[in-house]
């Protein structure tokens, strides 16, 4: 069996993981191992980012990171971990300027200053971007270029970390499945960073890439770390619904709204946001949680569009203005049968980002020695609702910190092969293939459907209880999942592990949502529609003695 040995192990190679690798080497790590289930720097959420990156650069206004913090805390509806949020806002400008030095290509005004636009929830023009719809790919490509120049970083694609290995209460490495060979691999590490992103892939409607199934949360829980704010899943309000559009991310309409406003209309063509306390007469200003709630309520009341969303209309915008703002993108839309000057599109909330995540301190260290986290996998900085543009800075800032502090932390303890044996044996057994009456992708589809139906933008106790039952049924079916024979590139093998992790993530979200008997930010309970003072703190999720997932921190 292959065994690798590294100073810092990084699980997940999106923006946070890649930045962590760079900073770990800068801080003195002689060996960094950067793994991804997909291809390094191509999977995950970073590459999907459409446009805005928030940082108080003060290029276009008298901005200050404390003002960015004020906006972040306000958007978080009182639940932000203020220390983490402050780290995010204070260091965002440093990371954004460093990305600029690495030639990411932030868009500039004619006077040479970095262009910054105002996104909903920001008090000032604070969001920079590379190019309309192209910020994420540029950020990912820039980081890929940087890591490829550093010899101390070893990159490995198509490795799924199935288990962290703990010894004497510390994480000492991991067991991974090598997709190409179907063989287990053991990895000894002085420090391990979880940078696996969020869990939006467990929802039927999502903007996630294929590998956003909540793996990191399952790994962290099993290793003894705590999770926080798990009930807060951000539903991006205007995900594309119809007509079917290929080659574009479903969250693509946001930049259109930044530039041209656009109008949200119900199925009969009437404006409705004002009835939910938001006035968009002058500009695109409605926060994501309020817009998602409003759209979901309109659809539930039977006032939706034909495919079950609402309309987003740019018909009032002159065709020349549309062309001037979006040029070639207008042609791409035309190929999909979309003419914004003539007809609206249909949009609907989709799972987009997870505010909750792994509990860390300012060094990005969990309570488990040897275990760190970075990026979206971290919980707390964004509270109950994330401000537009805070996700990329979070990846870069937390990634940089996680790499730096992991590299300089005291080694967690020596490798313990015996502690890895069970996880290795599980991979070996499953990779022999086995018969079964159901496939993992079909069960994942069931899980996504139940999470959407019962743990989505509108929740109540009855639905959440049903969700727990249904999650239990899917978990029971895990034992009957068919695994095809043939070890090399056998997708059904990695799928089994993905499903197992997604079930843990789904249960953590659902239990936390059931325990929070109030509505706040992205968590909306139909049976408790108001915010309650007794719930002004965060809830934590951990594993109990019998590997049961339990919630703590709510009111007594």
């Amino acid at each position: 069996m292959m065994h690798l040995d590294t100073h810092v192990l990084i699980v997940g190679a999106g923006g946070a993981g890649m930045y962590a690798a760079i900073s770990a080497v800068r801080a003195g790590a002689d060996k960094v191992l950067l793994l991804d289930k997909s291809l390094v720097g191509r999977g995950g959420a970073t590459i999907m980012a459409q446009m805005t990156v928030a940082a108080a650069l003060a290029e276009e206004s008298d901005d200050d990171w404390r003002l960015h913090l004020d906006d972040t805390l306000a958007a978080g509806r009182g639940l932000c971990d203020e220390k983490l949020a402050a780290v995010l806002c204070e260091e965002a400008p440093i990371r954004i300027r460093e990305m600029g030095e690495w030639q990411v290509g932030w868009a500039q005004r004619d006077n040479g200053r970095i262009a910054q636009v105002t996104a909903p929830g920001h008090s000032r023009p604070r969001c920079c971007y590379v190019d309309f719809l192209n910020t994420g790919p540029a950020v990912a490509a820039t980081l890929r270029r940087q890591i490829s120049r550093i010899d101390a970083i070893r990159r490995l694609s198509n490795l799924t970390v199935t288990d962290l290995v703990t010894s004497d209460g510390a994480v000492v490495g991991a067991v991974a499945l090598d997709a190409a060979s179907g063989e287990p691999v053991t990895i000894a590490a002085d420090a391990t960073i979880i940078a696996t992103g969020g869990l939006t892939g467990i929802y039927r409607r999502n903007s996630a890439s294929a590998n956003m199934g909540g793996d990191g949360y399952a790994l962290a829980l099993k290793a003894g770390a705590e999770l926080v704010d798990m009930e807060f899943v951000q539903f991006f309000p205007i995900g594309h619904l119809a007509p079917r559009l290929v080659g574009m991310d479903p969250i693509m309409w946001d930049p259109f709204r930044y530039k041209l406003g656009g109008r949200l209309l119900d199925g009969a063509g009437r404006e409705f946001l004002a009835r939910y306390g938001s006035d968009e007469t002058d500009a695109y200003t409605t926060p994501r949680d309020i817009a998602s709630y409003a759209i979901t309520k309109e659809v539930a009341a039977g006032r939706g569009s034909p495919h079950g969303g609402v309309y987003l209309s740019f018909e009032h915008v002159p065709e020349l203005a549309l062309r001037a703002a979006f040029g070639p993108v207008i042609e791409r839309l035309a190929k999909n049968g979309i003419d914004l000057a003539r007809a609206p599109v249909e949009v609907v909330p989709i799972a987009h980002y997870h505010m909750g995540g792994i509990v860390v301190d300012g060094r990005m260290a969990t309570r488990v020695p040897g275990l760190f986290a970075a990026g979206e996998a971290v919980g707390g900085a964004n509270g109950a609702n994330r401000l537009s543009g805070n996700a990329i800075p979070e990846a870069l800032v937390f990634g940089e910190r996680a790499g730096r502090f992991a590299a300089t932390a005291k080694a967690a303890g020596g490798w313990n092969g015996a502690a890895a044996a069970e996880a290795v044996e599980r991979i070996r057994q499953l990779s022999d293939g086995r018969s079964g009456d159901v496939t993992a992708p079909a069960l994942l589809d069931q899980l996504r459907a139940l999470m959407w139906d019962e743990v989505g933008p509108l929740r109540d106790a009855a639905g959440l209880e049903r969700a727990l039952d249904r999650i239990g049924a899917v978990r029971a079916a895990l034992a009957n999942v068919m695994i095809a024979p043939g070890r090399e590139c056998n997708a059904s093998l990695a799928d089994w592990f993905e499903l197992r992790a997604s079930l843990a993530a789904a249960e953590a979200v659902t239990r936390a949502a059931l325990a929070r008997r109030e509505s706040r930010g992205a968590h909306q309970r139909e049976d408790f529609p108001d915010s309650a003072l007794v719930f002004s703190g965060s809830q934590r999720v951990a594993l109990g003695a019998a590997d049961d997932i339990f919630v703590s921190g709510g009111p007594p």
Partner: protein, 110 residues
């Protein structure tokens, strides 16, 4: 129900080429990647194909050959009725089904 057909190259690079035909539900606007994901959920979970971003066409992982042309599965619309021929990317080492060795050399374990 409207249907589409796909002839998909199966097996590893060491085996003689063989194709398996799948009949899949057809919806207006659906892509070849939609159909491949449907096959993995409902017919054969072992079908090997690379994809990551699913709809945004930013990861570029789903590059394969369709009817002899190198294209992205996520950008290619499914055709109702006629069978489409799906092959792995030519000029790359064939690993299994539609998966070729597209990882940069330094990102491979073995």
């Amino acid at each position: 129900m409207k249907l589409a057909r796909l002839n998909v190259r199966r097996g590893t690079g060491d085996e003689p080429p063989r194709y398996e035909e799948f009949t899949v539900p057809f919806e207006d606007g659906a892509t070849v990647l939609d159909a491949l994901m449907w096959i993995r959920a409902h017919r054969d979970p072992s079908l090997a194909v690379r994809y990551s971003c699913i709809n945004a066409n930013v990861c570029k992982e789903c590059t394969i050959s369709i009817d002899g042309k190198v294209v992205y599965a996520c950008m290619t619309r499914l055709l109702e009725g006629a069978a489409m021929m799906l092959d792995p990317l030519p000029g790359k080492q064939h690993l299994r089904d539609l998966v070729t060795e597209t990882r940069p050399p330094r990102e491979r374990l073995s």
